[in-house]
Amino acid sequence: MIAAIDTAGTLTTLGAHLPVLPILLPLLFGAVLLLAERRGIAVQRAVSALAMAVLTLVAIALVRAADADTISMYLVGDWPARLGIALVADRTSALLVLTTTLLAGACLLYACAGWDRRAIHFHALFQLQLAGLNGAFLTGDLFNLFVFFEVMLIASYGLLLSGGRGPRMRAGLHYVVLNITASTLFLIALGLLYGLLGSLNMAELAQRVGQADPSSLALIRAASGVLLVVFCAKAALVPLYLWLPNAYSRAPAPVAALFAVMTKVGVYAVLRVYSLVFGSEAGALAGWAWEWLLPAGLLTLVLATLGALASKSLRMLVAFLVIASAATLFIAISLNTAGSIAAGLYYLVHSTFVAGALFLVVDLIRRQRGAIGDNLDVAGPLRHNAMLGLLFATAAISVSGMPPLSGFLGKVMLLDAVPADAVAWVWSVVLATSLLTVVALARTASQTFWRAQPWPDTTPVPAPPSRAQVAAVVLLLAYGIGMTVFGGPLMRYTDAAAGQLLAPADYIHAAHATAPQLREPSP
């Protein structure tokens, strides 16, 4: 049966399918890339580039649609949300999809400078990883979230380890075992929650938590506590952050840069689940998680900053900065006010771009330092000092929250949003760690750029950074600058996103009100 479809019809159709496309497109392109592997790297790059371009358009469209203040539910398989799997594109998920896509574009560009030749299946794995990430952001079903976590993780194992050896393999083993352990706990929590509440759809769960029998509350709390541990482990919150520095610092640069968004998935999951399922509609369990998260976030921030100070290598430094940014996010969301969540979302996007940029620029530096690589304890030569210095300085200023870049705005938004009763602690920690970050970065810059020595005659000169590599860094930094210049509109968006998150009733209503096209909502 062939249906006649006119152009306009197709377009509206595509619009209706918007929430599924960020998952579907990378999956399809990933499969196509697998089949295209025999045709050489040029074809793969072309397909990848096409995939990224299409995905970027889709992500932009998704954000624009979400900005119309509707929570779009997409009923996969045309089943009502409680029976099947619903995808949910609200402001927050759309923003994260766009962030991921933009970051990924730059990472891909960087990888196309050569790493993609060395790592078997790179392009396919990269697309599949995007599918996993976008799926995790868009799904409205807790078990489906687990599945997309796994898609994302297993693809990340491939990206991390393909083409690697030695210490990277050990780091990979740790990363994998830790994540599997976390996933196991995830499943335990899911089993318990289903067994207690009888659903996996988040909106349905939210409603059922609110109506739960008082004698079940302790059990539900235990189950969701297990879940919280899982998400915090992914987000590298204290004391679950120990795995991250080694894994991230060992990853190939474009992959590490993409990983900048992986901790954010954990943060997002906490934000989504604990603002919706255990949000204001949750009755006796409303908001119980936040009291754990604020001190943990503060402590993580301190420890991560100390780690940054302690780092002996550039990549380790950046890895700790990633933890610090996730910790800052936790602080923001656990304050659980509209302002702080809005600030958190802004900071999330900022820190994703800047961490990505840092991983890439640090890789460029490492390659231009000859045998010393990214060792921070010794001074060595450095080629292309001026350009790399400029890139590093921009990223460092942004990541440390120095003005005028996005990090500063994010920090101000956060500080401004801290409720009066938490000001003393949060401000002291945030400001003090900012200073320590500045100290760490100044030390790094001084060691790397200012103490650079002449290139030794005995060693061959490394190839200069390719245009694609530099362009990737510039692109990510430009996103940050864009976030600074257009901070107003962006913050209007994150404000509205925070409003959506704090009103779970709307979400629940959307889940109920979205009826299947073909089927009856209930038999």
Binding site: G166, P167, R170, G172, H174, S183, S313
Partner: protein, 120 residues
């Protein structure tokens, strides 16, 4: 029945955790396997324990469909979840095993921290 299954889940978890905390990659893999058994049983048990009522719709002797309710069939959803979980756990096990092989080959030991020079 519930007590037996719960005790088994508990024992499997404990054994899995204990092996997970050993320092050798193969022990860790065994631990993960045991943990995944525990997990699968736990998810499975969230549909409650019912003997002899598999969720495959049947007709009775008269050829009439048996009413599709929980009185005649067990909850199918946890089973579907466990299936997915088994498959994913298998995929993860495969990857872990291969990484363990590579780790041993690259770093000269199957200690999970082999080749570690601490933190760079």
């Amino acid at each position: 029945m519930e007590l037996a299954l719960a005790s088994l889940i508990g024992l499997l978890s404990a054994a899995g955790v204990y092996l997970l905390l050993r320092a050798r990659s193969f022990d860790v893999i065994l631990g993960l396997t045991l943990l995944s058994y525990a997990t699968n049983l736990l998810i499975f048990s969230s549909g409650r324990l019912v003997i002899g009522k598999p969720p495959v719709l049947q007709v009775d002797e008269a050829g009439k469909a048996i009413a599709p309710t929980l009185a005649h069939y067990t909850d199918p959803l946890p089973q579907a979840l466990v299936l997915t979980a088994i498959v994913i756990a298998f995929a993860m096990t495969a990857v872990t095993i291969v990484i363990a092989m590579r780790n041993r080959s690259d770093n000269g030991s199957d200690h999970v921290d082999a080749g570690g020079e601490g933190m760079p």
